[in-house]
């Protein structure tokens, strides 16, 4: 068995933190949605904390995902393009890497929206509901695209043509 070293761990670790913090950001956005739906003076602070969690987790997903994308994805991309699912890169990754910025901007915007007293401001409440729901939906789409990309690499490794060029 080959013992893992920091060099071999940093790639998968950055990928797992990217996906994990993305999920946590989606869950926190769902929390904000629920807080805005049942906006009361008592839960206002919790909703604001959740909004900050959305922004922080999304920023972590951005940094870790970016590190992995720049340093480790090129090898996977080469495999995907030689495999039977090239669209995992040409369509899903291309959309994912750009749609992510939409979620990121909305995540940075959410703490600004929930600074208002949602329990007495209908317009702010509507905006918070809208922004948090958009983060949840776009985040789920991005997570789904990540799964397709991951499977694109997997099928490439078991594809005979890819095996010939990458033993």
């Amino acid at each position: 068995m080959i013992a893992p070293t920091p060099e071999t761990l940093i790639g998968p670790l950055s990928l797992f933190v990217h996906a994990g913090s993305g999920v946590l950001s989606i869950l926190a956005a769902l929390w904000v949605f629920k807080g805005a739906l049942n906006a009361r003076r008592e839960n206002a602070e919790r909703t604001r904390t959740a909004a900050w969690a959305v922004a922080i987790f999304m920023a972590v997903a951005w940094i870790c995902g970016g590190y992995w994308y720049v340093h480790f994805y090129p090898a996977d991309k080469g495999m995907i393009l030689k495999g039977p699912w090239p669209f995992a890169h040409t369509l899903f990754m291309e959309i994912k890497e750009h749609l992510f910025f939409v979620s990121l901007i909305l995540a940075f915007y959410l703490p600004i929206v929930v600074r208002a007293k949602l329990y007495e401001n209908a317009a702010a409440r509507k905006l918070a509901l809208c922004v948090s729901l958009l983060i949840v939906l776009s985040g789920l789409a991005i997570e789904g695209a990540g799964a397709v990309i991951s499977y694109g690499v997997r099928v490439a490794y078991i594809h005979p043509q890819a095996k010939i060029t990458h033993p």
Binding site: T90, H98, V113, R115, A123
Partner: protein, 110 residues
Amino acid sequence: MNTDTLTHTDTSSQVSRASAAFGWAAAITILFNLVLASAKDYYPPLNKAMAALTGHHWITHGLADVVLFFGLGLLLQRTPWAAKTAHLPAILVACVLAAAVGLLGWFWFF
């Protein structure tokens, strides 16, 4: 009175000036993101120039989006028209849908 709020927003029917300004900034940045993604894919020299700036086009793209969002947000806070927020949620939904459909269409067909 909260200085972050416009004089006519204490009726609770409007969001704060900061929320409105950064909402418009988010909408514009989301559309800018779509245009930049298509432009750098269509025009490789732009992609190369962006890569030369930070080492990777995606890093430059992300930083440009974030800088534009915060820069526009801070700028729009000083303009009175940013307070027009009645349709802001619908505009944000439309911009996100346009970005999603636009990216799908661009990378599917081109």
